[in-house]
Amino acid sequence: MNVDSAGRPAKIKAIGLLSGGLDSTLAAKVLLEQGIEVVGIHYSTGFCMNDHRRAMARPEEDPRRMRNEGLRAGADLGIPIEVLDAGEAYLRMVLNPKHGYGKRANPCIDCRIFMIHGAAEYMREHGGHFVFTGEVLGQRPMSQHMQALNLVEKECGIAGLLLRPLSARHLPPTLPEERGWVDREKLLGISGRSRKEQMAWSERWGISDYPQPSGGCCYLADENFARRFHDKRLHSKVEEIRREEMILLKVGRHFRLSPAVKIIVARDEGENNFLARFVAGGWRFEALECGSPITLVEGEPDEDLKRLIASITARYSDRRGEPLVEVAARRDDREERLLVPPVADQTLDAYRL
């Protein structure tokens, strides 16, 4: 390692989590302003709303609204971005978080530990002096209070080497500060839920292109998704839940018909096309001779449930005003036809997730 006359490394390198949101962008900028080399780590978790919106986008939608903010921020800051697929390990964590869930299905503390641990691992493999995040003391109720910040640092195994540049002045000095790698006086002292200070700093540094703060972009913190997620956990062997099943939680109307049978009803043509990719091996229902949603079935329905599924499918078809609708139930090469009345909405509500 090259060192200067004071014995400090000639070039300090920091590895940081970069979502592309305002806080992580500012945290990187704070360090860049001190001449520190920065590498951004951007995680793909599979639960990002923007990624899903992009997969389902209609042709007329503005693609700039669906860009990857981490890549955009890296380009604007002039720093390399490492995009990491959180993969199966992340799913296992989400399904069984050591520190539990927040209000929805958000395992925020375990998520921070997972990502910071990954950044630390990257630092060990590729070189670097410390890890940083855009966390702000007191900003988020579950993961960004003092106790949680301490817990995350402890469990990541990089005690003293985790810097939060935006709130550093409220926190005990870290090793990078004590060793003179980072000038503590030039770190910030932001705390709380207000974004006013962040916005003032972004204006000062000419950072204007960033997604709206607090917009919420994680399915795990979404109320509707969380309801379906916890239903999935309740009715499955958790260790057998696959990523594909998580993807399906984002699409369509969901109805739990019995402990062993759930259906997903597409809401439009885009969702029909999406669900059509997941039909192999299972039952799917469609009303005949009209515009109809695809209804995907999870589990093995008996004859009564098949009639209920058919009537729900009829309810969302273009023939929902008719007394009887013919619905096809297909599984691989097999087809059955059922003539059913569309289900009444009050009946439907009892099953809705």
Partner: protein, 120 residues
């Protein structure tokens, strides 16, 4: 080795249709049907196995990649040469630059698993 023929008209603005007909890629990556940001992850992995100066052609049906790929190239120091559209597919061209972040084991990569391979 790069095979950008003389006289080719290549612009680099995202979202534009460029004249990339004259580019002769050294390798092709088929990322059609893959979820964002897996095409970027795969691009990085593929570039790491190419020599500096080589051109990679990326096939994708995700039109937002026309914004993301130039941004990733600006971030990592690789050179975005442009794109063209053929039906619903986009063909993007990236030249690996010596010393670029992705070429040195930085830039995009995989930590926990290789790309998900999830299809849209």
């Amino acid at each position: 080795m790069p095979r950008l023929l003389m006289g080719a008209c290549v612009t680099r603005a995202a979202g534009m249709t460029e004249n990339t007909d004259s580019i002769r890629p050294d390798a092709v990556l088929d990322a059609v049907g893959l979820y964002c940001p897996v095409p970027i992850i795969r691009t990085s992995e593929r570039l790491k196995r190419l020599e500096a100066g080589a051109i990679l052609e990326i096939l994708s049906d995700d039109r937002v990649i026309l914004i993301d790929m130039p941004a990733w190239c600006r971030s990592t120091g690789n050179e975005y040469l442009g794109s063209r559209q053929e039906g619903s597919e986009y063909h993007l061209f990236v030249r690996k630059i010596s010393g670029a972040a992705a070429a040195d084991g930085q830039g995009t990569g995989d930590r926990h698993t290789r790309g998900t391979g999830e299809k849209r």
